[in-house]
Subunit: 204 residues, 2 copies
């Protein structure tokens, strides 16, 4: 429910002088420790914010697809604290932090709109934390799938690989595939082979 984007990032896009960038799969837009780049809008492709834990686990902090924005928090931080990597060939617009601050000084409404956008991201992030607090893989998985935008008839399309989803859920891909297989055997989930998912049963 509150996992979708309430605020249209496009309303943030009414901003001055963004710089367009193309990224190949695997390219890093920035690395942890870099000075903040600014607000990033994704037009095509997908980017992930990643960290590697002390034990070497890859952790996906956030994932942004077409129409999403990210790195908003970096506008107020001295350094980036994670890597931003393109998981597919991508096209993004970067609004430099300094320029954005100047624009906000000129147009007071930008601050409030940015706050609204950040509030939406915060709610989504809390939903994610709630999901991660579930102990069982099937619960996390079902929760994530129910949060997916639903087609006019009941089809949802997972816009990424199951392996990627596994990382977002804090699970190994093996656990994810197994949970998926069990859910499918139980008739709660049906997959068409191409990223489409159909769910049975109430979200509750």
């Amino acid at each position: 429910m509150y996992d979708c984007d309430h605020m249209d990032p496009a309303q943030l896009a009414a901003l001055p002088d963004g710089q367009d960038l193309r990224l190949a799969r695997g390219d890093a837009l920035f690395r942890a420790g870099d000075p903040p780049l600014g607000l990033v809008l994704v037009h095509r492709g997908a980017l992930e914010l990643r960290r590697v834990s002390a034990e070497g686990r890859l952790i996906v902090l956030h994932r942004a697809g077409p129409g999403d924005s990210f790195a908003e928090a970096s506008l107020f931080e001295p350094r980036h604290h994670c890597d931003a990597v393109a998981t597919a060939p991508s096209l993004v617009t970067v609004h430099a932090a300094a320029a954005l601050r100047r624009a906000a000084a000129a147009d007071p409404s930008i601050g409030w709109r940015l706050a609204a956008h950040l509030a939406a991201r915060l709610v989504a992030e809390r939903a994610r934390a709630e999901r991660l607090a579930q102990p069982r893989a099937a619960d996390r998985l079902l929760d994530a799938l129910h949060a997916l935008p639903e087609d006019d008839d009941g089809l949802r399309h997972l816009g990424r690989s199951w392996k990627t989803l596994a990382a977002e859920l804090g699970l190994t891909h093996e656990a994810t595939y197994r949970a998926l297989a069990r859910l499918e055997r139980a008739g709660l989930v049906r997959r068409d082979g191409r990223g489409g998912v159909r769910l049975a049963g109430p979200p509750a």
Copy 2:
């Protein structure tokens, strides 16, 4: 590192006409589904944002102690999506959403400051998600303890019960006590009986 409060909520407190409220332990400031109350500043005591999962698990979405604020996101949402419950006798100030919006229209800097505050909360929330993605209880626990503010000599004070921390970490209290005992036996953690913790070894 990025789990502490970068932004001083007090700078948000330069706001008009807050309403002070006293809460007893167990009192709910609002419930899921209620219309947004507004921005809440905690002066004394502690409040938790809670949900109950479909399986009946109690999930702590956020915890605010003295000097913290919460429910910022509710300023932009039509309804609250979780309960706010006092876990101790508390004193709070509520800045009504409508009043805050009016104040922001009059003073443009409020929007930007609010955005900065929300950005800090977002970073903290991502750190929490990162923590919850760790599979082992000891890792989550150590991570959370290292994120605690450190005294001038190496003492950290856990400002809440271990049971409460367990809920924040998405663990049962049993698992938490056991992990704690193991860590203490291994010499990585030392507790004085009164909420004080001393850690050995690097955060990495």
